[in-house]
Assembly symmetry: C2
Homo-oligomer: 345 residues x 2
DNA sequence: CTGAAAGCGCTTACAG
DNA sequence: CTGAAAGCGCTTACAG
């Protein structure tokens, strides 16, 4: 690996001068600048980010902490974050906590959780990243960010009640409301919902959106219309069984595509066809939704945009600390209309 | 952030002594060791990996370079790598090259490609990782690893002809042979294949496996039996159209699940049912395969195992450099039999 | 058993 | 315009 010192020797200048040139300081003669730059080019020199971080005030690098890389939402968000920072000449460093892999779905009750987060935070502080993005695996209130940190931090795909921290999420409530309205506009009045787990924040928000749309259209909703699943296909299947057997529902709104796929499984068994005998809507727009037969009408979550917005908020905070005001930002989802919702009119 | 110096002062010892204790050197009295350890605990001190890397010979950290995080194979492999290293008390650092996102599928012809790899390699060398794993986005011959590097490196999901570098891949050939044999055992004799892109190594290997199985069973294969797609559902659909229209084929082997889903699209349109009117087999075992109707019989790629094996090979090389012999390792795939292959007997 | 000193690759006042 | 020196947080001979 070629170092500052080596290229300084090759050019017969001090390493200070080389460093100044590399950092775009204006106090260097054009002549030596040109000479040094050419040597840098021909040797293929690249600065050592970590050494730089040990000393410098600004490193042009950001840290990304992620609950678990294997969550379906993770790669899209990360790609958004990284693309934004790449465009702005920032380097991003990723720390994967592997919470779901290690502890299943109940990890945030686990004792090791806050420790792991703290450790990741410390490491980023050690190399003096200019900012940090915490990418959650699902919406929740994050409360383990140390208050005394001076490094700007934004939370992506979750939120916090701690002051001074921005977050960006997508608008579950509006999305569920829009989807419900779509159903209603197609003539559906008796709509069942297969929600997510009962205490989940996505579940609560989507339920709120569902009820809002129903109410706006003077449609009543009973507690019996709502069943709680656990996000997987099996629970979609089971809930469809208890919910749909001999019922009057003309549509069922599933709070994710996997549970909708489970409903398809049930209907397939009963020789019922989605969109004809009963309409079904999903949420997430996962790959599978396009391949279900008929293709599933669902909600698209703009993951890349969530990532890019998070990066944008962080960069603004880094560059304009004085004007900084924390905000809880919501990006809007789109409805993808495919063939699983039939028109009753 | 609390540093070595601070805890040294708190204990009235030198930072050398603290460092020795932290690194498990045996030349420290039990008494001061106990005292220092308790202070370390109560202050929540954590070593600065980057500063350590600047100076130390061994850092207990490894670097992972990945072509593109958004490839379907990436997260499984990475999770395997990280789980293995976590168990062995190694820290892993991830560098995402974003090649597909940046340059589409033709990126390895791109001028920036080797530069980016070199830069990632340099950065890892700079922080003195003990080893590096290069995770490719698809099988190919990687030839841009500098020969003179002293850092052990293994290639995951691809291979190289450069001497002294181990690689781990999965056995495309055997998997395709097994799947073809499964088809034949169910009584299929006229089998079409929708392969991947023509120059792709996965395509070549799977074709070889297919032909081998056919030959072993005295079944002939014509060039017309094989069509080349480009891995997406649309190309599966288009090829099904030209291949299956009025043909005698009783089964079609698609070289990935997405193309198989495209074949389903075609059959659905023609009111033909997979596994009954015509059998179809896939490859990859992506999420979608389980939700197709009927569920798709396919090949499972053990991604996590590929990751773990890569990590194991690397760790062996790090710990026993003298006994090291590079190897080209292949992990075996499994056949997932579902309902898309009918029995003709 | 303990610690002073040099050094990893860089940046940053500061002096000239 | 240029460079000597101190320092970031650590490890590692080496001397005592």
């Amino acid at each position: 690996m070629v170092t500052l010192k080596e290229i300084a020797e090759k050019c017969s200048v001090s390493i200070t001068t080389v460093s100044n040139i590399l950092n775009g300081k204006s106090n260097v003669s054009e002549k030596t600048k040109a000479r040094v730059l050419s040597v840098i080019k021909e040797t293929g020199y690249r600065p050592n980010y970590m050494a730089r971080g040990l000393r410098a005030a600004k490193t042009n690098s950001v840290g990304i902490i992620i609950d678990d890389l294997t969550e379906f939402s993770s790669t899209g968000i990360i790609d958004g974050i990284m693309s934004y920072f790449e465009e702005h000449k920032y380097k991003s460093i990723l720390e994967n906590l592997r919470f779901y892999s290690k502890w299943g779905t109940k990890w945030y009750h686990n004792k090791g959780y806050e420790d792991s987060v703290q450790q990741a935070l410390d490491e980023f502080e050690a190399i003096k990243v200019d900012g940090i993005i915490y990418v959650a695996g699902h919406a929740r209130c994050i409360s383990c960010i140390p208050e005394n940190s001076s490094t700007p931090l934004v939370i992506s795909y979750a939120f916090t009640e701690q002051p001074g921290i921005s977050s960006v999420e997508f608008d579950d409530m509006k999305a569920a409301c829009d989807m419900t309205t779509t159903l209603i506009k197609s003539g559906h009045k008796k709509i069942a919902v297969i929600a997510g787990t009962k205490t989940n924040i996505h579940t609560a928000r989507r339920l709120e959106g569902f009820k809002k749309a129903m109410q706006e259209n003077n449609l009543s909703v009973q507690e019996a219309d709502i069943k709680y699943g656990n996000w997987d296909a099996e629970s979609g299947y089971e809930n469809a069984k208890t919910l749909l057997e001999g019922s009057e529902y003309t549509a069922v709104f599933c709070f994710n595509d996997l549970m909708a796929a489970g409903v398809y499984d049930y209907l397939y068994e009963k020789k019922l066809v989605p969109g004809k005998d009963i309409s079904v809507a999903g949420f997430d727009n996962r790959t599978v939704s396009r391949f279900l037969k008929p293709a599933l009408t669902t909600v698209e979550i703009p993951l890349v945009e969530i990532g890019r917005k998070s990066a944008e908020l962080l960069l603004n905070q880094i560059n304009n600390p004085d004007e900084f005001k924390p905000q809880q930002y919501f990006v809007q989802c789109g409805i993808i209309e495919r063939d699983s919702v039939g028109c009753l009119k």
